[in-house]
Subunit: 254 residues, 2 copies
Amino acid sequence: MKNIALVLKYEGSAYHGWQVQKNAVSVAATLEKAAAMVVGHPVHITGCGRTDAGVHAKRYVANFRTDSGIPVERLPYALNTHLPEDIVVSDAFEVHEGFNAIGSCVKKEYTYLIYNSRIRDPFYVNRAWFYPKRLDETVMQRAADCFVGTHDFAAVRSVGTDVKSTVRKVYHFDVEREGELISCRICANGFLYNMARAMVGTAVYAAEGKFPPEAVADILAGKNRTAAGPTAPPGGLYMTRLWYDDGKAVFHVE
Amino acid sequence: MKNIALVLKYEGSAYHGWQVQKNAVSVAATLEKAAAMVVGHPVHITGCGRTDAGVHAKRYVANFRTDSGIPVERLPYALNTHLPEDIVVSDAFEVHEGFNAIGSCVKKEYTYLIYNSRIRDPFYVNRAWFYPKRLDETVMQRAADCFVGTHDFAAVRSVGTDVKSTVRKVYHFDVEREGELISCRICANGFLYNMARAMVGTAVYAAEGKFPPEAVADILAGKNRTAAGPTAPPGGLYMTRLWYDDGKAVFHVE
């Protein structure tokens, strides 16, 4: 059996997230169906993270096992002919037997987009958070800085999935404005359920003056979800970069 | 009666073009319905051009007449609350009685986007022409140069609407590549039916080697539609800039 890693992109508006679910169209189920057509047997695909309904991926990594003889470099083209236009496989390569798209991932980055203008932009519908009230990105950055480092992130996660620990390490949370678009790049060794979106909502609340940006350190220490800001809507969130290192497979996808 | 000019943007994927038609949802009909709600009487809206089904507008100008007392600066917000998310009014101002969104327009620019990569991008579905074969943008530019100036454009228009003359003046046709995106900006004093898309298709055919780029001058002179390239698909086309000058109303929208 070969273990194949896929690099993909998807526009998530039409999907109920990555994960296979009953009675809902997911990216994973769509991809598994396409892969089964190509390799000629049922396929189970492991993804690098459970993106929510409406969340996008500029880069995403998944893996699956097959004994098909199809040359691995042909796989992206073969898969794309069976995939809808909003999911695209850009690369495929063989990885060692123990490689796992989520388990071997040591670091990932999400980027969140806010369209901050008094007037909506029709080209950002479902692709950025439309926020008509002016946000000061320097205040957002001061709030964002409080998240960087190793912390218990219980204050910015939604309950829903069981995890052993709510401690994570955030490597960067960079807020930048380009015209009316504010981008928030968040890199961590792992993300709790809704963590990236709650971190963005908290930085926005600081810019709104709901609490001083420096108070985010205390909010985080308090581990109380209701003290932090809201969960930003899914359409603004994109998985953007991934780092892999399990000793054997060491690579970076961006 | 006041004469009101509106500046708008729309993502045209869901519409059968600008023009009001029976049994099809158009941008104009959607806007007229919203305007009627706001001003309290039926409204007829004149647009700056008949964009086709699936064509977008980053900037578009329309005008209508009303005796409503609503302050003109309130109009964008009032209209946007009645419009779907893919049509947005960004500005409104009063113009002189004789102003006409199409008649007073002296020059407009369309921009056409080609996503030129072997692998599709899910974020450009319906927003750029996916063209997997590599195109040399310098060859496209040489073909594009043949269109600049005053010519009979019969070779690059689709028959469909009656026009008095097929002579137009093209001010620029600039082809630029940024990574995998090729943008074609075409400015003219007027566009025949499908003219911008046929000009792009012809520049692409030149880059494909179907004819030498300099042969486009002869193709244009021959006035034979079948000698030119294909009509590029609608999703790549955006109205981007407009110039107005009717002696009284002189402005530029971009």
